[in-house]
Subunit: 467 residues, 2 copies
């Protein structure tokens, strides 16, 4: 149904974005052919780099009329293949939409273009005493536009929520070239259907995001960080809920299996954590706020909970450097596992108290289906990243049989009241499992919504929704 | 296009819900013919009172096939006419879906049916040490289902957010009778389109909500409340933003014009607030948390801000009774204004710092168009309720010309980055103004979404979306 790109198409795009912003060289095409999802490669036919909504409007209108697939791309740090041009066609690279349009310190809001790196956005608002909490592990390189498209989370979500909790309004371009704001720059809104929240997490399949209005909060002034070694990984998962039940809401509550830490420190050539032989997992726990005394009390309260478990010596990070070093280990786990082996990453999420059961299920399924796994993630949210390692699995088992094991895992997750993805999205690699979480009627309804936005199906085709 | 109800329809419904739950008496029809919106009355042809999703599924399937309009109704406390059966047909009364299905203290969640009174829900979870913050002024009588349908707010929203920030998952029945859960019982979710958030605030036009999973938070242990008289209403609005900029996030930050308080105390026969002649407006400010010392510090910090304004004597509520009395005045303003005069209520919302400008615009337009207004509301969110009083306006001016003034107000609001409704919804009485906030393309897209859910348009017809 889609059309191949022609010379005529390319000439038109050149008139829209400028000669040098239509890329056709093999090298340029390869540069946008991957994201961080496994080792998948899909080479598009062309790349355009527009620099504003008006240009995107013209591009989409044209592609819509000519039935050319358009895959919008941020920084390419996605973990579900959302930015892969699996249907060929055009990659719409958002890197030139890279302005922080304005920080509204009166209203605690920022208006930003999608191609701004999340960390840079955080730093810019922090200079004004404001805080944008959601920070995926890739915050130093990912784009805020991708974060919105995937409804990203990150370690702060346990206290501060995910991206969707901060998006107030979006400027988007629809498939037919219509430019619109989805909502208003207000904290509460009961005016028509919430298209803003519908587009957050829709992974580039409904519209192209060209501006984002985020609410901000006053930056907390202090934080404290502790690392807690556990002799049982299941016990560490159990402690997570006990901490929450004690009444403290940490600003970070991360779980890492022993292998995750060991491999990451080796990968980083770091020795910040001393791993004794009896340690099976760690919790990394942060509290933040404006009152040091309160934070000390909270750490003590957490400690009282921890003492009821069989733990090793708690490491209390006593400097900014040490905090950075510990967070850095946590942030690099994905990268480290990737460097160690071919792997598939699942992004399971369950009601928090089910975390021990989830971990045990992962290991049980690993034994049954013959896969090794490294688990870590945002335990405070019940969000466990399960990295399945190819190791010495045969190519045949890896390519064909493993999906049975993953399907079984997802069935268990759904049975626990959870779902397929907490923050990585469905994209390309998880859509085959969507029927586990959703009925046919539900998927049909999502498809009708897709069609309402994008009748010709040009926007990020073949993603999210199964055939 | 819609069909009138026949004897055959009624007989079928009786087999579904039981004889006594199909109501046809004039008195029963009148009882559901109103909500709290102005003095509007729309009498339906019949009322059904199903008691679970299965019954609702059968009812909707039937009405969908027979093209009978279905208006879902909660407690009838709405302020935009959302529950009025303006197209006749059937009213689906949700009062028998009145169970708190379960409070999950492990995961801080509650599953509740739509016909539970919000206050009762709050009380039930509070007994378990948990807190469900959104509490509209009508919390003692409104249903949680209506709150979700309208995306309600309330005074706590300034710190804790609105209903949409607490809804994790919904069981809904679609127009064709399909029963589905929209999401999962998890804190983060990046799995397909966010139908949960699309249905929150959709005012019964997309689906009938039959179960609601809400996240909860640990209940804060202490709160403090102060009432601050201002000699200028505009100055009171200015103080709102200054308080927020000082770094404190109050758990309530309410604005009331002098008339609002005067009329309400007269209506309630209360004297809790002593109004000196020079007072033009009040701020009611609450802080909450688990550390009394911190609350005292916050009140002091707020006081430092207030001292830069020309204020009267600050009333520090020193008992639970006094706090209740003050909140009671605030909660009763709407009712009091209603008892005083025929009125129309607007629910304007702007970025918070624009509040003084909004208030001045309201008064300026009142002078221009000859209407008197009483303003109050959730100033911390930029959400100002504008009650327009009929007073001695002629019926002709009231019925025909006033809408020009309201349209002008909404245009100004949209120009400030705001929108038509912060928490009351669009329903029946505001839809004529939707074109002020949305382009034709935007409204067309919303209509397509409506059609995806409800192709025959039987669910709450003629609401939200303009023709």
């Amino acid at each position: 149904m889609f059309q191949k790109i022609t010379e005529k198409d390319i000439n038109y795009w050149r008139t829209v974005v400028g000669e040098q912003y239509v890329l056709l060289d093999n090298e340029d095409l390869l540069a946008v052919s991957k994201d961080e999802t496994e080792n998948l490669v899909y080479v598009p036919e062309a790349v355009v780099q527009p620099h504003n909504a008006d240009e995107i409007s013209l591009l989409l209108k044209y592609c819509n009329e000519h039935k050319i697939p358009v895959t919008t791309r941020g920084a390419g740090t996605g973990l579900s293949g959302g930015a892969l041009a699996v249907a060929g066609g055009l990659v719409l690279d958002t890197k030139r939409l890279n302005k922080i349009v304005g920080i509204d310190t009166d209203n605690f809001q920022v208006t930003v273009e999608p191609g701004v790196i999340t960390q840079e956005l955080q730093d810019a608002v922090k200079e004004k005493g404001l805080f944008y909490p959601p920070d995926p592990a890739s915050k130093g390189s990912c784009f805020i536009g991708g974060n919105v498209a995937e409804n990203s989370g990150g370690p702060k979500a346990v206290k501060y929520g995910v991206v969707k909790d901060y998006v107030l309004n979006l400027e988007v371009v629809l498939a037919d070239g219509t430019i619109m704001w989805t909502g208003a720059n207000v904290l509460k809104n009961a005016t028509g259907y919430n298209l803003t929240q519908l587009i957050v997490g829709s992974e580039g399949t409904l519209a192209v995001i060209t501006k984002i209005v985020l609410r901000l909060i006053p930056a907390p002034q202090f934080d404290m960080l502790v690392l807690v070694p556990f002799k049982s990984a299941t016990a560490a998962c159990e402690a997570v809920n006990k901490i929450m039940l004690s009444g403290v809401i940490p600003s970070g509550l991360e779980f890492m299996e022993r292998d995750a830490i060991e491999w990451t420190m080796r990968h980083m050539d770091s020795s910040v954590i001393s791993l004794t032989d009896d340690v099976q997992a760690h919790l990394l726990i942060e509290v933040d706020g404006n009152e040091r005394d309160v934070l000390y009390k909270e750490v003590e309260q957490i400690n009282n909970v921890l003492e009821t478990f069989d733990i090793g010596e708690v490491l209390f990070a006593d400097s900014h450097q040490q905090k950075q070093a510990l967070w850095s280990v946590r942030r690099k786990v994905g990268e480290a596992v990737k460097s160690y082996s071919i792997y598939k990453e699942e992004d399971t999420v369950v009601p928090r108290a089910k975390l021990p059961e989830l971990l045990q299920t992962v290991k049980m399924l690993g034994e049954k289906h013959g896969f090794q796994s490294v688990c870590y993630g945002h335990a405070g949210d019940g969000n466990l990243h399960v990295n399945i390692i190819k190791g010495d699995m045969s190519d045949d088992d890896w390519n064909t049989k493993l999906s049975e094991g993953i399907a079984e895992l997802f069935k268990a997750v759904v049975g626990m009241g959870g779902t397929l993805s907490g923050e990585h999205g469905i994209g390309w690699v998880q859509k085959q499992y969507m029927h586990i979480a959703f009925s046919k009627a539900h998927i049909a309804l999502m498809k009708q919504i897709k069609t309402s936005f994008d009748p010709n199906g040009i926007l990020n085709p073949l993603k999210v929704l199964p055939e």
